[in-house]
């Protein structure tokens, strides 16, 4: 059947798709076609219009202009049912699964007539088990979804599409939550599907993955299609420049000059808090003048470590020393007093207050101190001057200091946070996912600022899920897995694959025995 379909035309043709949200043109006359058994990558920065385009294809949005053709038939717009029936399956970046239902229930949802007298679970189970075997996507059909790991949930999300006999699979940033090894397993499954004649659209901004899986790349920038190249004719650097629209200057690296340890943890434990996994005996030293990278799949204790250093959590065991002394009642106020600056993981939830102005957000951490407070009264003039200076020095693009911060882009919001913490010349910088969701220009800016702080003598802890970022910036690297911390690895001694094995939990027992 593969040979048959190869002789036919494209399985999917997007023709002149245009979508406007008010004044913003999210997709500007984009045309893409997909051949049977082909994998194309849709590449672009956040906000380039990748997800909008796929949501139009899948029927979540209606295009203002243009048509979608699947297997030669024009697809009615704004109708996910029609897309599903035509054989389009979407693996969403944020899984569309329900935690309290079983794997089987999640897969069956919506596949049987709504007013049917009875669910056919036996037939569904047989089909699911068959598919799982065929593509090497093992899952237990009766497991409650909430008990599965992220990798397993993704398998369910893919199986859901296959169960509906999808012939065209759209994967939206599928590797964002996976270790390198899990990503390899995913790619192996995708290759099996392609061998069966399925066509795949792979949305990503990770260049090496695009190079590894796709045969053709479509690059979007600011809603426009700026390039379409065969993988054989390009390389990651050229793709990156196409994506950004200008030459990329990687951050400048100078040799580190390590100083004394500013923060030390010995055998530190913390309590589990709801979904936040606690620490299980962590040894860590943050030295002046160095960047310490912390790799790991999210949810393995990074949040607990960040909370501990930020003063939101206290150790339940072990020893913590800040600037050589063990703090008595560790708190946020003490952490700020000790010169610990925080770039929080979620700038919307914990970094800023959306409906406050830039001025108010700029003094959020220090509003009780001079010069912002005088005899218990706020000095708005001083606050505004401070906000103004941050806006200027950190190139925060905004109408002015009185703008509500919710109107800023992620990159500009992050620059304000960066300026807020850097302006006080912090001793220790806790940078938790500092570049997540930023475009490449903003990423370079933030990374250069962290390097500058390091060269000034600050100790930086960089928590990131992006191994390339960790490997590029860190003078020493730790890996976290299930609340445990690996030994420190010096720059240049580890590859991404080595880190991936530690992220999957390998090596920790040995490390413990050796210690």
């Amino acid at each position: 059947m593969t040979a048959d379909s190869k002789t036919q035309g494209p399985v999917l043709r997007l023709d002149g798709i245009t979508k406007r949200f008010g004044a913003l043109v999210a997709n500007d006359a984009i045309s893409v076609s997909l051949a049977p058994g082909e994998v194309i990558a849709l590449l672009g920065e956040n906000g380039a219009g990748k997800t909008t385009l796929m949501n139009i294809l899948f029927g979540h949005y209606t295009a203002d202009e243009g048509t979608v053709e699947v297997f030669g038939q024009t697809l009615p717009q704004g109708n996910p049912r029609a897309a599903l029936a035509a054989g389009v399956g979407m693996v969403h970046q944020h899984f569309t699964l329900a935690d309290n239902l079983s794997v089987l229930e999640n897969v069956v949802l919506g596949t049987q007539p709504l007013w049917g007298a009875r669910l056919d679970m036996a037939g569904a189970r047989a089909k699911l088990v068959g598919l799982a075997q065929e593509f090497g996507l093992a899952v237990n059909p009766d497991a409650r979804l909430g008990s599965l790991s992220v990798g397993e949930r993704q398998r369910v999300e893919i199986l859901k599409a296959l169960y509906r006999d999808a012939r065209i699979l759209i994967l939206d940033e599928p590797t964002a939550v996976l270790t390198p090894q899990q990503a390899d397993a995913l790619f192996a499954a995708l290759r099996k599907m392609v061998a069966q004649g399925l066509s795949i659209i792979f949305i990503s901004h990770k260049l090496h993955e695009v190079m590894a899986i796709a045969s053709r790349v479509v690059v979007l920038r600011h809603g426009k299609m700026v390039g379409e190249v065969a993988i054989a004719d390009t390389d990651p650097r050229a793709l990156a420049e196409m994506m950004v629209g200008s030459a990329i200057t990687p951050p400048e690296l100078r040799a580190a000059t390590p100083g004394p340890a500013l923060l030390e943890l010995r055998e530190v434990m913390t309590q589990d808090r709801g979904t936040v996994r606690g620490l299980r005996g962590v040894d860590l030293a943050l030295r002046a003048g160095t960047i310490t990278g912390l790799a790991g799949v999210s949810g393995n204790g990074q949040a607990a470590l960040a909370d501990l250093i930020a003063g939101l959590e206290r150790p339940s065991g072990g020893e913590m020393r800040v600037a050589g002394a063990a703090p008595a009642n560790w708190s946020v106020a003490q952490a700020l007093g000790a010169g610990i600056a925080r770039i929080p993981e979620d700038r919307h939830k914990t970094g800023t207050i959306a409906d406050f102005t830039l001025t108010e957000n700029a003094i959020l951490e220090r509003y009780r101190d001079a010069p912002f407070a005088r005899r218990g009264w706020l000095d708005w003039r001083a606050a505004r001057d401070f906000a103004q200076s941050v806006i200027r020095a950190y190139d925060v693009r905004c109408p002015g200091p009185e703008t509500r911060i919710r109107l800023l882009s992620g990159g500009n919001m992050q620059k304000l946070i960066l300026g807020r913490v850097m302006e006080v010349s912090p001793q220790i910088i806790l940078a938790n996912q500092p570049v997540r969701g930023l475009d490449i220009g903003a990423i370079t800016f933030v990374q250069n600022q962290l390097l500058a702080a390091r060269d000034r003598g600050a100790a930086v802890l960089l928590i990131s899920e992006d191994l390339d970022e960790i490997l590029t910036l860190s003078d020493q690297i730790h890996v976290m897995s299930e609340g445990r911390l690996s030994p420190a690895f010096a720059r240049g001694t580890m590859s991404a694959a080595d880190l991936g094995r530690w992220m999957a939990g390998e090596g920790f027992e040995r490390g413990r025995d050796a210690a």
Binding site: E105, L114, G116
Partner: protein
């Protein structure tokens, strides 16, 4: 002690337990359906008042008993439509809308009552549902009289629990409803309408709440008077939590509450009742319910998207 044992051994006690539980079962199933689909319906108390009034008024003006039940259900569904419209497509706060519906529905029922009967001081009685003994089964000692000499509405309440349970867990519609309460995005991704599912659940649920209210006027008190629902709606909200959103367990909770309530009435007439202020007895079912709630609901898994509005365009 002997007196208490005597209470537990009397058939009339168990018959009262089931009678008290019946309206709670209807309304609890209604609330459970709403919450499973992700909508907390705090309009329940008022919708029960409307059901009680609509059912009674229909019969009082010459309609048949079953017509009364249908009219009550329809009136409940109308308020469900209002509640659903405000909370589902408009995504307004379910707390505020629910309390508003309770106030509106209660006041509307009282207002309509005064319009219909401007100068009446003693609420007129109607010819209500009569007990329908089921042959053979009702002859079983103790249990037979309690379970099988009830009005048709009571039998219907028990059948309803099985129906709700079957629909929720054995049909495609039930799976879609539960998914709408767990993760509406999953429902939308399968091309189903979250809005339609939630609106439907709220309307059907509200209809059942109204039937629960109608039970009071048409099968228990045979008349309509102010304050007659008396917090039963709030109890049903607690019963849903007590039952961990499972119809069977919620039924158990309703029967348990009926037992506490029937017990306190009888305890007031014993020698203990002579020494203890009767208000303490009135309090008992509620205190025991809270205790049971605390013990039972610790491991309950709340529908993950309960009270979370869903907007299709948002992500």
């Amino acid at each position: 002690m002997g007196e208490i044992l005597e209470i537990f051994l009397s058939a009339s006690f168990w018959a009262a337990v089931i009678r008290i539980a019946s309206p709670l079962i209807f309304a609890t199933m209604g609330e459970l359906i709403c919450e499973r689909a992700g909508v907390l319906n705090l309009g329940i108390e008022g919708i029960m008042v409307v059901g009680a009034f609509a059912g009674w008024m229909t019969v009082y003006s010459g309609g048949g008993l079953w017509t009364g039940v249908m009219v009550a259900m329809f009136a409940g569904m109308l308020f469900g439509l209002l509640h659903g419209t405000l909370t589902v497509p408009f995504g307004l706060s379910q707390h505020v809308v629910g309390l508003g519906i309770t106030l509106l529905a209660t006041a509307s029922a009282y207002f309509a009552y005064r319009l219909a009967l401007p100068r009446v001081t003693t609420p007129p009685r109607i010819e209500a549902f009569q007990p329908l003994p089921i042959p053979i089964l009702s002859d079983i000692p103790l249990i037979g009289h309690a379970l099988f000499t009830q009005t048709p509405l009571t039998y219907l309440a028990f059948v309803l629990v099985g129906v709700v349970s079957f629909v929720l867990f054995r049909t495609p519609l039930g799976l879609a409803l539960r998914a709408a309460g767990e993760n509406p995005a999953a429902v939308a991704a399968q091309g189903l309408s979250v809005t339609a599912l939630r609106m439907g659940a709220v309307m059907v649920g509200s209809g059942l709440m109204a039937v629960g209210g109608a039970f009071l006027t048409m099968s228990a008190f045979n008349s309509f008077f102010f304050e007659m629902v008396n917090g039963r709606g709030w109890i049903c909200i607690a019963l849903v939590v007590f039952g961990a959103w499972m119809p069977g367990k919620a039924l158990l909770g309703a029967v348990l509450f009926g037992m506490f309530d029937a017990l306190q009435i009888r305890l007031q007439q014993t020698s203990i009742g002579a020494d203890v202020p009767y208000q303490l007895f009135l309090m008992m079912p509620f205190v025991l319910s809270i205790l049971a709630l605390v013990i039972m609901s610790r491991r309950a898994s709340v529908p993950a998207a309960l009270m979370v509005p869903f907007n299709k365009g948002e992500r």
